[in-house]
Amino acid sequence: MSGILALGIQDFKRLLTNALFWVITVTLVLIITLINFAVPENISEESYGIFTYHTDYYADQTTAVNSEEELRQAVKEHGTIGLLGNDDGSITILNPGLSEKTVRATMTMLYSSSDTYVEVESINENNAAIPFNKRMTPVFICFEALVIGFILGGALLLSEKEEGTIRAMRIAPVGVDKYLISKTVLFSIIAVLYALLVAFFCVGFSFSVHRFILLSFFGAAVFSLIGFAFTTFFRDMSSWFFSMALLLSINMLPVVAYSEPSFSPFWLRVIPSYSLIFAYENILFGMGRSMLPTVFTVAGWGIGAYLISRFVVGRYLLSKGRR
C-alpha cells in the first residue's frame, strides 16, 4: 500500500512539471467560462419556420413558397422542414438531414390531429427546461475531465520510456498491479476533481454528488487503463500523439447521439463514453434514462480494461524477462 502511495505521490509531482497537465487545466477553466458566458442559454430566438409548396397545410410558422425549386432552396438555407405536396395528394417531407425518427415524428404530429393544441414539456425530474449551454456540460466532462488519465497517463508513461526509468522499474520489486493501480487512482482522483469543478461552476449543486463522484472515478479509471495499454506500444510522444488524438476522436462520436438521441446504433453504444455521457445527463439534469445499464457498462469496461492493460503493460512494458 505504501508503495502505491509513494508511486502516486511522485507521479503527481512529475505531473505538476508536465506542460500538458497545465494545458488541460487551463482548457478546463476556458470550458467553464465558455459554458457560463459564451454559449447562450437558449437558441429559441432562431427562426424555425416550415416551408410549404402545393399543400393546404397552414400554421403560424409556415411560409408558402411558389415553386418546388424555391422550397428546396429554403429548406437548405434555413435548415428546416419543407412540405411538398405531390400530384397524387401525398406529401413529401424535405429535411436538411434529420434522422428518420425525427422526420416521422414530425409527420405524425402534423397530420394526426391538426386541431389539437400542442404543448412542449421537458421530461426531466426537475421539470424545467435545460438551458442550451448547461446541456453541454456532460459532453465537456466526458471529453475533458475523464480522459485526463488517457492523455496525461500516456504522457507520463512515455516520459518513463524516453528517460529510461522504465528499465529501472523493471528491475524493482514493482508488480504490474501496483504500477497500474497507483497511476489509475491518481488520475481518477484528478478527474473527479476536474469533473466536480465543471459541474459545480456550470450546473450548480443540485445533483447527487456521490453518484457523480463514483461515475467520474470509475469512468476515468476506464480511460486511464485503456490509455496505459494503448501507450505501451509507442516509443515516443510524436508517434503516440496523433494515434491518441484519433482514438479520442472515435471516443467522442457519442456526442452525435447526445445531440440527436434517435441516432444510437449498437456500435455507437459500445463506445464507453456513450453510457457515461447519458449517465451524466441523468445525474446532472434528472433525465429519465436508467443508470443500471451504465453501471453494467462501466463495470464491464473497467474489468475488461484492467485485464487488457494488466496483460499488455505486464508483458510489454514491465516484463521482468522471466517468461
Binding site: 502511495l5 512539471t17 528491475i171 520489486p173 521482468k320 524477462g321 522471466r322
Partner: protein
C-alpha cells in the same frame, strides 16, 4: 552466489548469437569484472542476468534458484546501475532516491546519506535535468545501492567521472563487496577492473575468451622480465633480464642502478594477447 550456465542469446531469432556459451559464477563478497569492447555482449549478459531480457537458453541461478522461478519480491535484493544514467529528470536527486526507496519492502539507506556518499549532497534538491552526466551517473549508482542489494550490477560505474569522484565510487563498490554483496561489474576500463575485481572475464564476440583473477592472468600471460635502469657515464640506460636469469644479480652488482621494474603484463595487453584485438570503448 550468482551462477550463469551456458547462456546464449539471439536477438533476431535467426541463429546469430549475440552471446554464446557464457558460464561463470559470482560469489558473495566478491567482485566479478566483465571486460570487453563495445558490442562484445557485456550488456546483453547483464540484462539477461537482471531479467531485463528474457533468458532464451541456459541457466541463471541466484543461490541455486532459477531466475525464471523468481517472484517480483526477489527484486528487493537486486541493485542495477545502468551505463546510460536513467533517472526522473524532473524530480530532484533526493526525490529520485526517495521514490525508488519506497518501492522496496526491505530496509533501505537514507537517501540523503547515500547522496552524500556519492558527492551529491549539495545538489540533492536540484532537479536531475540540471545535473551533469557524471552527476547523473552517480545518482544512478546511489539508486542501485538504495536497497542494500545482495546482488549488485554495475555497468561502467566510473565512466565520465573525474579521478577524485571515480576513486570515491571505487571505494563505495569495495564497501559493498566487503558487506557481502556479489558484485557484477561490466566495464572496458582496465584500471577499474584491475583495482577492484577478484575475478575478470574477457568477452570477445559474445564468447568468454579468458577468465581468472587478474593476478593469475598477469602471471600467466605476462613476461617474466625485469628491467634495470642504470647510470653510465652520466647517461640513463636500461637492460632487461629474465627473472630467473643469474646474470641479473651479477649485472646489478656491476652497475649503478637507478630503477628496477618488473615487466608485468597489463590487462589490456592480456586482452590483446587472448583475442588478437585491442580493448577499446
Amino acid at each position: 552466489m550468482i551462477t550463469v550456465n551456458s547462456v546464449y542469446h539471439d536477438y533476431g531469432g535467426k541463429g546469430n548469437y549475440a552471446v554464446s556459451d557464457i558460464s561463470f559464477s559470482v560469489e558473495s563478497g566478491k567482485i566479478f569484472g566483465f571486460l570487453g569492447p563495445s558490442g562484445a555482449g557485456k550488456s546483453t549478459v547483464q540484462n539477461i542476468m537482471t531479467g531485463l531480457i528474457p533468458l532464451q537458453r541456459g541457466e541463471v541461478l541466484y543461490d541455486g534458484r532459477s531466475i525464471k522461478a523468481l517472484k517480483t519480491k526477489f527484486f528487493n535484493q537486486i541493485g542495477v546501475s545502468f551505463e546510460q544514467p536513467n533517472v526522473y529528470a524532473k524530480l530532484t536527486g533526493y526525490e529520485n532516491l526517495k521514490y525508488f526507496a519506497a518501492l522496496f519492502s526491505v530496509p533501505t539507506h537514507n537517501p540523503m546519506e547515500l547522496l552524500d556518499r556519492v558527492g551529491l549532497r549539495d545538489s540533492a534538491h536540484k532537479k536531475a535535468l540540471e545535473y551533469s552526466k557524471g552527476m547523473r551517473q552517480r545518482l544512478t549508482l546511489a539508486r542501485a545501492l538504495i536497497n542494500k542489494p545482495k546482488y549488485l550490477f554495475l555497468d561502467e560505474p566510473t565512466s565520465g567521472l573525474d579521478p577524485s569522484t571515480a576513486a570515491s565510487v571505487r571505494e563505495l563498490i569495495r564497501e559493498q563487496r566487503d558487506g557481502g554483496a556479489a558484485v557484477f561489474l561490466t566495464t572496458h576500463s582496465m584500471a577499474l577492473a584491475d583495482s577492484l575485481c577478484d575475478t575478470v572475464a574477457f568477452l570477445d564476440n559474445g564468447k568468454i575468451a579468458a577468465m581468472d583473477s587478474p593476478e593469475v592472468l598477469k602471471r600467466h600471460y605476462g613476461k617474466r622480465l625485469v628491467t634495470v635502469v642504470y647510470n653510465e657515464a652520466g647517461n640513463e640506460r636500461s637492460e632487461s633480464f629474465d627473472m630467473n636469469d643469474r646474470a641479473l644479480a651479477e649485472f646489478l652488482l656491476s652497475v649503478n642502478p637507478i630503477k628496477i621494474h618488473s615487466q608485468e603484463a597489463t590487462l589490456e595487453e592480456i586482452f590483446l594477447c587472448v583475442t588478437g584485438r585491442e580493448l577499446k570503448s
